[in-house]
């Protein structure tokens, strides 16, 4: 399978800080890839480098097989982008935004565009500046899809949308995905959205890609182990795949990646009075993986934490 997006050692510094650090990202053609990360983890900078808005300090990026640094307009026309916050020229009406956008593309699907506008009940005469955030997102989606792109890059497209609009937006996105051969890369803070649509995820932590695997694999490989002790839990020995661990009273909680019998044996060796292994949903898994050593304020229970962080 060819890659719709491929980066090699992609790096960007702002000042002395590497906001994206040696990123090797591959998005197979036809896949839906969810790019996750906390605020400031480098998602938007990565996307802007892919689209040529930001120049990398090191490394390379290829879209649809062509180097981004020398991307021809003909190839660029096969890539659609929905920017965070859905920027528009706000003086335009929806019809003017359509006319403006259509002028840049040889391929343009008026029928699909009208279907999407009708579905969302968006009048073409409406001024963009009078539309709600959700309606602007819908116009963005319609304009992105109308040129029939092979690759869609969406930067946190559901940010700021209410639950109903977000669901509508995602349902439409799923229908668009079902069109043959289309590749989608989208970043999001809303894990449930990613879980719904992405078949592969990447997690950026401080600009580095720490996870890159199928969504189901990520969910299945992370477990929370909760062990109860009669007294204070003993010190935890070194352990492969340990994402974090912390103590609350006589309880020891571990989050491990690549869960297996070795983790069970490790916990049994500590001689707990009981222990259980819990599955994590994607949101919990993501939080455990990216939260770092800081946890919620221990106002109600004294926490004795000693987090450790590892890579997959």
């Amino acid at each position: 399978m060819t890659d719709a997006i491929a980066t090699g050692g992609l790096t960007k510094y702002y000042g002395r800080r590497a906001v994206v650090n040696s990123l090797d990202l591959r998005v197979p053609a036809g896949s839906v890839y969810g790019l996750l990360g906390r605020n400031g983890s480098g998602k938007s900078t990565t996307i802007k480098m892919l689209l040529g808005f930001v120049r990398p300090d090191r490394g390379s990026a290829h879209l649809l097989g062509e180097d981004v640094a020398t991307l021809r307009p003909a190839v660029r026309a096969r890539v659609a982008y929905i920017a965070e916050g859905h920027p528009f020229l706000r003086w335009m009406t929806v019809a003017e935004a359509i006319r403006f956008t259509r002028a840049f593309y040889d391929r343009w699907n008026d029928e699909l565009l009208d279907q999407i506008l009708d579905h969302f009940a968006l009048p073409k005469r409406a001024k963009i500046r009078r539309l709600s955030n959700g309606q602007r997102a819908q116009v963005s989606l319609a304009l992105a899809v109308a040129p029939d792109p092979e690759l869609l890059i969406l930067d946190d497209p559901t940010l700021g949308l209410d639950t109903v609009v977000r669901r509508d937006f995602l349902e439409s996105l799923i229908q668009i995905i079902q069109r043959e051969g289309r590749t989608i890369l989208f970043s999001s803070h809303i894990l449930a959205d990613v879980e719904r649509v992405a078949d592969r995820i990447g997690i950026l932590v401080d600009g580095a890609l720490r996870v890159d695997c199928p969504t189901d694999h990520f969910k299945q490989s992370l477990r929370r182990i909760v062990a109860e002790f009669r007294d204070q839990p003993p010190p935890l020995p070194a352990c492969d795949g340990l994402v974090s661990s912390w103590r609350v009273g006589n309880r020891l909680e571990l989050v491990v990646v690549g869960y297996g019998t070795r983790h069970d044996r490790l916990v049994e060796s500590l001689e707990p009075s009981s222990f259980e292994v819990l599955e994590l949903n994607l949101e919990d898994a993501f939080i455990e993986y990216t939260r770092g050593p800081r946890r919620s304020l221990p106002l109600l229970a004294a926490e004795n934490q000693h987090d450790q962080h590892i890579g997959v």
């Binding site: 900078t45 930001v54 920027p87 020229l89 403006f100």
Partner: protein, 220 residues
């Protein structure tokens, strides 16, 4: 697609050009003896004043043209950064050079046309026999045309200051300061051809810098 980009620039900035043109026409009308807003824009023509030579037209025109050049330059550059609007344009399959080249050509054309009309109107009035009791030769309009050309540097400096990323306001305004110094050469008694040459070279340097900034800067 260039015509689409040009329409966008016209649509966004025509009101500034219209205001500038109206202000410069008031200055020209004042010089012709029809000052609708005396004391605000344009002064009523005094008897014995010689058009373009002893009526202060070039100075007043230069001030208003400077205002128009600043407004156009900053509106065209900073306006696109409000709400990340530039991403709506830059994501299209067109290179940055064409986007900003169109912006520059449209902005400069708007300034040049709006500036040229009042000078041409006043010159046509001055060249019409019976309108004033003083001699007139077309070469007398040289000072006004030089002021008109000098303010192109202010437009380019404002555009460059708006486009160029810089953390500190003083650094950001450096191109405008340089353009202001260039336009300040108006005060020197240069022969008009030498003046035009200086402004043409200065403008070419500013345009080259704009192209370099546009092609190399990040739009984060």
């Amino acid at each position: 697609m260039t015509s689409t980009l040009a329409y966008k620039e016209l649509r966004e900035n025509v009101w500034i050009a219209a205001l500038g043109l109206a202000a410069m026409l008031l200055v020209a009308l004042g010089a012709m003896g029809y000052a609708p807003l005396p004391g605000i824009l344009g002064t009523a023509r005094q008897p014995g004043q010689i058009p373009f030579t002893s009526d202060g037209f070039s100075y007043q025109f230069g001030l208003v043209a400077c205002g128009l050049a600043l407004a156009l330059g900053f509106r065209q550059s900073l306006g696109d950064f409000l709400g990340d609007a530039q991403l709506f344009v830059l994501q299209r399959p067109v290179n940055r050079g064409r986007v900003y080249g169109t912006k520059l050509v449209v902005g400069l054309t708007m300034y040049l046309v709006c500036g040229a009309l009042p000078i041409a109107l006043y010159a046509a009035w001055a060249a019409t026999p019976g309108t004033h009791a003083s001699p007139f030769a077309w070469s007398m309009t040289g000072g006004a045309w030089t002021a008109w050309l000098a303010m192109t540097a202010v437009y380019l400096g404002a555009l460059l200051s708006g486009i160029r990323p810089a953390a500190w306001l003083g650094t950001r305004l450096a191109p405008l300061a340089a353009a202001g110094l260039l336009a300040g050469l108006l005060a020197l008694p240069l022969p008009w051809l030498a003046g035009w040459l200086v402004f043409a070279v200065g403008d070419a340097l500013l345009v080259a810098t704009i192209v370099w900034v546009v092609l190399t800067r990040d739009f984060a």
